[in-house]
Symmetry: C2
Subunit: 313 residues, 2 copies
């Protein structure tokens, strides 16, 4: 009967979520929008958007895509002696994470310069090769094994209830798309992110998309713009973890009808990391104040999650 | 048995297509990619992209979105006396279609100026209001009744065989998304098009997306870029009608495995319009040469289609 269906308690579908206010808020919301009644939302409008770094997988001590980019710069450095005097390059060479995070923009310029002119296909191969062997300095896991088990369950739970699940991230789409379908069950077309401009060219008569300098950044106030551009509908559920998600959460929450805005708080130094207002990666400050003021659902990694990462083989 | 299934002949699923080489090419292709064998393509990779103007609906004597924009300019003209000396405005006022088409860029600047600062929601309402009453000068039909019946059948036929159908158009996404789901069965997130930049703002504490000057154009060589950005997979089927589709067709056809590139030729002055190499709207010249050289499938409106537009109520 109704009482034993997964939608009723979420216990079967969300085994890595403790029975607490966060899980209850999720289950209540899903019940509300999927059952006949004043809160019903037709399946085509059940759009759920998830930030990626720090929301679907870890992001400390540096965004994982940033680590990939650093490795690319290191590999290209012998061909670029002029980089040696660059402050960002020096921060990288000395392993100074705080300086690196502070020099993210400058670093990005180096990286973009290193990769302009490469075809999208070649870049894709580099990402795949890196992800297949690079390991996290603290856990020794492959980076794609540092996705959050409770979130994998939540994504599947939402899809089982007619939701379309999207990533809306500051990371670039090419980086995420190489693994989002395999790991999250999110196909390339449901990944919204920053975009490196491409140019269409014929190389020996063969079509190629060639990377150009620059980046169209999808973060903070441009997340709702990215949503409008690529999805074309306002989400009814948004899940983030930092100030870069503030506008996406605001935009989602401000729509008519039932809405769910969720914020993950990294408060679990034992199992993962603990950081918020002072962090130089994934800073959670204004969005936290807003979440408290507007009664968004704050998810505590420590109390709401039974398990952080999936078991590895 | 096999011989009587719709996939075998397409006659049941594509009643408005004459039995000829074009329909046969479509049916053969769908059979090939959906049946076990060397040409099999898994459903997630069955991406079909369709140009819109002149491929899914008519585009003469002027792109329909352009007519909408002209009507917007006319409505705003009393507030802009400075427009009176503008050549594009004069072409419009005198009803000179050739001059207007030649001044499309200048006209666009006027239009974008007229609408910068408007919220996406307000603009959406204007599009809907216009589409509900504006009628085509030659046929007297609502513009959304000038979609092609054979293409509606083709879209449905492809979806019934596991394809995901996309629009990839030079028109702007906001314009198409107001009706693409209702008319074509193509949801907003499957509409790729030109994009008017938006800025996220709080207006009286309420999130709004505000239109900015400029346009990120999705046409010709930027169609494959738009596909890479929003879909993230190379299509296996592309359908266009003009030189603006050349690169999209090339890009689609150059992928590995079975591919189908289709080009609609407007050769039916009696039932619709006849135009190609000399037209200032939907010019078909280089793409036609390429289609002949590469044996893409050229669809003749006159010989391949039993019916052009749907019956109206
Ligand atoms: Ca984040
Ligand atoms: Ca066209």
């Amino acid at each position: 009967g109704c009482a034993s269906s997964p939608a009723s308690s979420g216990a079967d579908a969300l085994p890595s979520w403790n029975d607490g206010p966060a899980r209850q808020a999720i289950v209540n919301f899903v019940n509300q929008v999927t059952r006949e009644g004043p809160g019903y939302v037709p399946p085509v409008e059940r759009i759920a958007v998830f930030d990626n770094d720090g929301t679907l997988w870890s992001e400390q001590p540096l965004y994982f895509q940033f680590v990939f980019m650093l490795d690319q710069v290191k590999a290209a450095a012998p061909q670029h002696p002029e980089w040696r005097s660059h402050p960002a390059f020096q921060a990288m060479a000395s392993g100074d994470h705080a300086a690196l995070a502070g020099n993210e923009k400058a670093m990005l310029e180096l990286v973009l310069a290193a990769n302009a002119g490469m075809t999208a296909e070649d870049y894709d191969s580099r990402i795949r090769a890196w992800l297949a062997q690079a390991r996290h300095p603290k856990t020794g896991r492959l980076y794609t094994d540092m996705v959050y088990q409770p979130q994998l369950e939540l994504l599947a739970y939402l899809r089982a209830h007619g939701f379309k699940t999207y990533i809306v991230s500051g990371g670039t789409v090419d980086f995420m798309r190489t693994w989002s379908e395999r790991v999250y069950g999110i196909p390339p077309e449901q990944v919204v992110g920053s975009f490196i401009p491409l140019r269409y060219e014929l190389k020996d008569g063969k079509p190629a998309l060639v990377r150009q300098p620059g980046m169209d950044v999808n973060d903070g106030p441009t997340k709702p713009v990215g949503i409008a551009r690529q999805i074309g509908r306002r989400p009814i559920l948004a899940f983030g973890n930092s100030d870069g998600d503030l506008q996406m959460l605001e935009y989602t929450a401000a729509g008519a009808g039932p809405r769910l805005a969720l914020l993950l708080h990294h408060d679990d130094a034992d199992r993962e990391f603990a950081y918020d207002r002072q962090s130089h990666v994934g800073k959670l400050d204004k969005a936290w104040d807003e979440a408290l003021a507007k009664r968004w659902t704050v998810v505590s990694m420590k109390s709401d999650w039974k398990q952080v990462w999936p078991a590895t083989k």
